[in-house]
Structure formats: C-alpha cells, structure tokens
Symmetry: C2
Subunit: 509 residues, 2 copies
C-alpha cells in the first residue's frame, strides 16, 4: 500500500496528476487551462526564485518590470516571432463591461483602437525599450531580468508543464558584438545547468537545439534537457542568441567608439514553473513527491503525537524548542526551515500529508521521545524498507548535530539516483534510422525507452524538415546536440553520409 | 541649483514626474497607461515585498497564486462588486491572431465562448476556491496571500499612483464568525501601519472609511492615510471586513461543531506599488528621492574618483575592500547593502545619479582618502548646508563602526520630519461647513492646505451622498475616521446635529 492511489508503473500520467493534487502543489482552476498554485507548490517556486535571482544578480543583471499587455503592432515586428506565437495569443479588445438585457458583456463603445496581447514572452516590448535606452557603446552591455506571468493559449494543458498562464523569469541582454552576446548566451545556459543540478538535484544535458526547434526569431537556441522517470525528456530551460534579428526589427543601434552606428546583438533566456513539473517527475515516488532538501519550503517537519490529554502541553513545548534549535542552524547557506505541525488533525494523517508533500525529514514525536530526549524520524528519500516505513531514532543532541549532514546527504542521494537514471538510459549504437525505428517503434503504451544518442550530418531546410517528419512518426524529437561532443563521428543515421555532430533523440513533454 | 529641473514649490506634479524619471524609478511604456519599472524602483518594490511577506507569513498566511484571467460570470456574482469594477475591466475576447489582408487581427474563429477579464482584484476567483476548500470548522481560519499584477483601466494615469497595470499583494481570509474576521481585518490594518512607519518611514493615520468610500462589496473598509508634501492625502493601504457578502454570493459555508452549515466571514487587504509614490512624495526633495535606509536597494554607494591613471587600481581595491567590510555588517536585521559604482562615467555624474536616486550614504573616495585610510561621504537626507553640498570625513574604521548608527539615525530623521509635517498640518477648529468652505475654497493652485479634522453625525444613504457632493465641490473627500477618537464630540459640521465621530477631510491622490 502506497500513499497515492496510483503508482508510476500503473499509469505515469495519472500518477503525476495524483502527486500534483495530493502533495498540495496545485489544482485546476475554473479558468480554462489555468491552475491555482497552492502553498507547497508556491513555496517551491519562491525557493527557485530566491536562489536563481541571487545567481542572476551576481551575473550583473538588474530586475525590471515591463507591461503584461503589449500593443498588437509590436508583436508583428519580427516576422518569425509573430509566426511562432500568433496562434496562442490571448487578446484584450475591450476596456469596459456593460449590462445588456441583464447580462454583462464587453461594452461595444469601449473597444480598443489597437488590441493588446498578453505577453507570450517580452522580446518585443523590451526591444523597444532597448532602442530608446541604448545610445552609445557605454550603455552596453545592458543586462536585465524580469519575473512575470506569461500567457500562451494551449489546447491541451497539463499542470506545471503546459498551462495557459504560467510564471517565469526572462533575461534579456544587449551587447556590442556577437562574441559577447554568445558568451552571455552560454553563461545563462551554464547558470541553468548548475542551478538545476545543485539546487533542484536535477541532472541535465546542456546543448544546442536543431534549427527547426529554435525559438521564433533566434539565431541559435540552447537548452538543458532532463530525463523523467518514464524515460521522456523535459526541456527545463532555454537560452537564445538572437543575433541582430530583433535589433534590426526594432532599431537597436549604438554609437561605437569610432562614432559609427552599429546594430546591437541580443540574447534572451528563461526558466518557468515548468521546472516544478520536472522535479515531480524526477524525484517523485509512489508515496508522493520527494522534495530536494535545498528546495523544500520546510526541511524538517515535526508532528507531535497529540492525544488530547494534559501531557500534550509538555509534548508541544518539546517540539517547539526542538524546532527553535533547528531553526538556529544553517544549511545550504540559509537558516534551516523547521515547522511544528500543530493542526487539529490525526497525527497519522498529518504524517502522510508531509510524506506526500515530500518534506525531507519528518519527525514524529511522542511522549516517550520527549521524556527520553529523543527524536524519531523518517527520511523521505528512503521512506521504506521493503513495504514498511522505516523510522530512525537519535538522541535529540545527535539529531540536531546531524541535521545538516542528513539534509545534504539526501540532496546528494536524490541527485545521484537521477544522474544514474539519466546516464544509464542514453542508448548508443544506432547505426541507421531502421535501428531507431525498431527500438522506438515496438514499444507498448508507456514503456520506458530512455533517449537515443546518434550521429547526424546536421541537415538544414527541407532535408531537416524531412528528418523531423520521420521522427514525428515515431513520436520523437531531437532534444539537443550536447555541448560535450566526441572527437570523431560515424555515419549520419538519416542519410548515411559522414556525420558532423552527436544529438539526443527522445520522446518529450 | 538643485539636481532636478523643477522644484516642489514651483510645480509639485512636475517635480513628482521628474523624480520618477531622474531617480531611475520608472517610465511610461508604449502600452497606454502602463509603466516600465526600472531597477531602483523595482529594487524598492523587492524590499517592500521581502519585508511585508515576512510579516504576512508570521501572521499565519500562506502564499498562493490564482489565475490572472477570471471568467466574466464570476465577476457578476456579487452585485456591488460588479458595479464597482465593471467600468474599468480589461476584457480578453480572443485566443488567436490571424493575418487579414496582411494585417494581424484577432481571429474571428477564435472568439472565446465566455470572455475573460483581467483581475481588478481576486475576491471572486478566490471565493470560489474557498467554497470548494472549506468544508468544516477545522478548515478555518483559512488565511492566504498572493503577490500579483492587477489591471484596472484608468482614464487618467500617473506613475505608481494610478496605472492600468500595477503590482500588489492581496490577502484573503475566511473565518468562522464575525468577531474573528474583524480581528483579522484590524490585524492587517495594524500590520500596514507598523510596516509603513517602521520600514518606509511613512507616518500614517489608521481609520475607517465612510460608507460611500467602501470597497465594493465590503461591510467596512479601513485605510492608512499618509500626508504628502503638497498637503494631500494618499491612501496607502486598505483592509476590508466583507461580512458574509461574498460567502453568500459564492456559497462559502462550513459545517460547525454542532453539525449545522454556517456562512463564513471573509476579509481582504492589500497594498501596492502605489506605496512607492507615497515614499517619493513624502521623502523626496529638490535633489531627488531620499530613500529611507531600511528600504534602499543600496544603503551605501561608493564612487571612486577614477582618473584613468595607474593609481586607479589602488583606489578600486580600497573601495572594494571597504564595500566588503560594510557588507559584513548587519543593519535593520539584514546584511548591509553596499555597492562600488565602477561604471564608465564621470565621478561627478555618478555622484549626482545616486543623489537623485537617494542612496542614503554616498561615499566619494579619492586617492587622498585611500592613502589616508579615510572615507569622505554625504548623508543624503541632509545633503546641503545652505546651498552647498555638505560632505563629512571619518577614518575608515570610524565610518565602518558608525555605519549602522548613521543609517538608523537617518531612518529615524526621515520619519520624524514626516511625522512633524503630518501632526502639524491636521487642522481643528472648523465649527461648521462654512468654515471649511472658507479655508479650502480660497486656495490658489497648488497651495498647501493640509487636512481638516472635523466632527460629524455620520449620516448614511442620501444624506451622506449630499455631504459627498458638498465636499466634492471643494475637491475634498473624507479620508477616514481615525481609530483614536476623542472622548466627546461637538456639533456635526454638516448638519449642526450632535456629532458621533471625528473624521479627516482632505484633497487626495
């Protein structure tokens, strides 16, 4: 018996929904395709924001806030950009309601002269500001970031992974030349890799997207890709070198040292609440989420075994002083986050709530623990021995002394587990497309396949389109060409010609 | 000569715009009525968020995130609420664009069955969630908060004070009974008062709004009101007791201890980026903003007097080590925020940039300071002696040792200055409406008038409407009835009847 009604093996998509619901992460809202992010989920997002914001600022970016509503004409400026986004735009057309025959309707007299679109991304409105702010080489580089809500109309939605509204961070930078802009693109990519691996315990492969998977308007797009427990890939973050495409469309020019007017080179990069979906599908188990300790809104949760008796007061006092002692510790560079759960509910129910949420250390303190100066606890990342929940007991002094080591150890264990899964499930040895077809063509619904690592001749244009179609028939896409490449290449699996690159191919979210 | 092109005395509204622009706080965007918040302004907002979030969580509220787009039918549920907001709603009607004769337009085939409105406030969508989440008395109180962007279509906009989109925090709570809900309403009000006074150095009067100034759908609305340097009032935060109005409209009921179904009592409370406007108009002077040290994104800014010579390196090293030493200090419960401004610009220009932004302590370090182990600095809140900028010099050791005391002292001085202005400009002694008319009726454009404190019989309905009209003719409104009331009352200035309450009347933003 597990804490969730469905296991990963039985039905992975259903299991995912069960974790999202039962771990108090999010739920569907009455607004179609949008979610309500609940305290444990939002707490995780706050932790992501805090840590990533620190890293973004350390790189020299400053935070700004731009309007969410963008004049329609702005979107039309960059041709590829509008093609990429026009199909999923929410459009504001009126600024007032009016009761018509007792029913509220958009007031026909309050139609906007120019409709506004809700930002699907902010290159256009930020590029416009760049064109006003950048005058001389002294104004470069201009590096900014924004934390914001984003709207992309999606027909099929899945919580955290694909919703009409989501939360993200978008970095936008402008540079004097290509070399500096590419260096910034790679810096952001490496920042995301290190952040994912260190903080989310999410191992990823950083690499470049093929031409047909680029961000609309980009010269090159890089991504970090993580492997979920069903073997699919999740694009967890992207970094784009935009060349001078947006600079041309929006007239972002600066006076260089020789007095000439030169186009700036721009970049953009972002991660979103989608990361939370990646954390769930990487670290979750059949009892719910296992939140990496660095990321957990609460790292140690103390459940007093209250019984509605006079001794309860002593027990509560013991738990409160334990939490205070823990809160004075420093772990992962910040005060340890401990909580005593004194809610009016059965202790066993509270324990299982925290198991489902994935609080890293869950202490169940009874009168005997309090009297004996002990702490009985479970490690959420190694909850069971066989079928049984495994609990540990330490003296209170030892528990406090070891809390930091325990939490750091669990963070490492979660990473290692996921890293072994990623490394062990990238398959080589596909000599040609038929091999790939055989391997991916034969799977049953939901079978774990992992990723394929193959060599290709990096076709472009129509030839790449054809490759895309062949892969699509197998429900596959090219994830990226890893930054780490081998010294030599075999034959292209699509054409048999000499390959120039190694790429990862997988099913994906 | 001052650092701004216009002084407060010459033209207060123009001066305000100059501070917003020249202190790098915000600028108008190409989206009508919306602003771009720039680094110093957004940094101030981040500080507000950080400190207020801490206080909100300490009170037991948890953060959630609800959709920004709300189905139109939700808004219609509470009758007063829809009347209050229908005139200023941005309405999403389409979810796709289409090129028609080469021009992008909302695609007629992608019209939404039910339009969505952009949240002007979230009582309706949160109330709907309350109705699903609250089942038993054990689920109460339910206390949540959200940091979000808000859209209210405004015809006349002014940066930070009134824009189509702004950022805010909205608390929403549900309680078992009236007493508990009112207690929460008052807790939030007191939280805002203490936050404004301690953290923003913004003295306020907390009190209850008259019936005609209530939030649409509220039983009672409380506010904190601050006095700006032109004598006008700024509503800086509100807290509403909503009674069972929203609970009835949205069926928020719980099973009480006896098994019966009972309506919950709800509250809501919020502050917004408008607070930044209040800080500007309270603490700004003719040289720009004076940012209260607790709030300042940078508390000490060090400008090295670089001259493009080899000695520059020593100077930079001296400044960097000074900043590191300062950064190791704790002030207002957090590490001191110090910055060395090494931008490629003239030192004098950099100094004046920081004066306009209002960095509390601005150090100008030349080779002589570095050689002599000194720090030369200006205190932004007491920038000048006569017309001249006054600078101070301390040994480096003394400056570091005194930094905390200096910053705390400046915070206190800014508060005291504003508190003296508030206390000294609330006028009593208006025996009747004619007195009020005489005092406020005779002013010239922009003349400082302050507030009036008068007694009234607290009329309701049509009688209150009439009072409102009489005040409106003088461009006045009732701000609030302060929580601190006198022991006895004279005659109502509107009717001559026995008064029951003391109220504040003022021009306002």
């Amino acid at each position: 018996m597990h804490a969730l009604k469905v296991t990963r093996a039985e039905d992975f998509p259903e299991w995912y929904q069960a974790v999202v619901r039962d771990a108090d992460l999010a739920e569907l809202s009455p607004t179609r395709g949008c979610m309500i992010i609940k305290p444990w989920g939002y707490g995780i997002w706050e932790r992501i924001q805090g840590e990533l914001d620190r890293r973004i600022k350390a790189a020299g970016c400053e935070n700004y806030y731009f309007p969410m509503m963008i004049p329609l004409s702005f979107i039309a400026k960059e041709a590829e950009h509008v093609d990429g986004f026009a199909k999923e735009m929410a459009v504001v057309t009126h600024h007032r309601l009016k009761a018509v025959d007792g029913t509220l309707k958009p007031d026909p007299d309050a139609e906007l002269t120019e409709p506004l679109i809700l930002r699907p991304t902010s290159e256009t409105i930020i590029g416009d500001a760049f064109s006003r702010w950048i005058k001389s080489y002294r104004d470069l580089p201009l590096m900014l970031n924004q934390w914001a809500n984003i709207v992309r109309w999606e027909m099929r939605t899945r919580m955290f992974l694909r919703t009409a509204e989501f939360l993200w961070q978008e970095g936008h930078t402008a540079h004097a030349d290509k070399a500096e802009a590419i260096s910034e693109t790679m810096r952001a990519l490496e920042m995301y890799r290190a952040f994912s691996e260190d903080f989310l315990a999410l191992p990823v492969v950083a690499g470049e997207k093929p031409e047909n998977e680029r961000f609309p308007g980009a010269v090159s797009t890089f991504s970090i890709e993580a492997m979920m427990q069903d073997g699919k890939a999740l694009q967890a973050g992207t970094s784009h070198y935009l060349g001078t495409h947006f600079a041309e469309a929006q007239n972002i020019r600066y006076q260089d040292k020789d007095g000439g007017m030169t186009l700036a080179h721009t970049t953009s990069w972002g991660v979103s609440t989608r990361l939370i979906g990646g954390v769930i599908m990487t670290h979750g188990d059949d009892d719910g989420l296992r939140t990496p300790p660095a990321l957990a809104p609460r790292q140690v949760v103390i459940v007093p075994m209250l019984r509605g008796k006079p001794e309860d007061d002593d027990l509560k006092a013991y738990c409160a002083s334990l939490a205070a002692e823990l809160g004075a510790l420093n772990v992962f560079g910040a005060p340890l986050r401990a909580l005593v759960d004194v809610k009016d509910a059965r202790p066993a129910d509270k324990r299982w709530d925290w198991v489902r949420r994935g609080a890293p250390l869950i202490c169940e303190i009874g009168p005997r623990d309090a009297a004996g100066g002990q702490v009985t606890f479970i490690k959420r990342n190694a909850l069971r021995e066989g079928e049984k929940v495994k609990s540990h007991t330490l003296s209170r002094a030892d528990f406090v002394a070891q809390a930091d080591v325990l939490l750091r150890g669990m963070q490492k264990e979660l990473f290692n587990e996921a890293k072994a899964r990623l490394d062990g499930n990238i398959r080589d040895g596909f000599a040609n497309f038929a091999d790939l077809e055989r391997y991916f063509g034969e799977d049953k619904e939901g079978e774990f396949k992992g990723w394929a690592r193959v060599h290709w001749a990096k076709p472009t244009g129509a030839a790449l389109e054809e490759v895309g179609q062949r892969l699509k028939a197998l429900k596959l896409t090219i994830r990226n060409a890893p930054l780490q490449q081998p010294a030599s290449f075999g034959a292209c699996i699509f054409t048999g010609a000499s390959a120039v690159e190694e790429i990862l191919i997988a099913r994906s979210y």
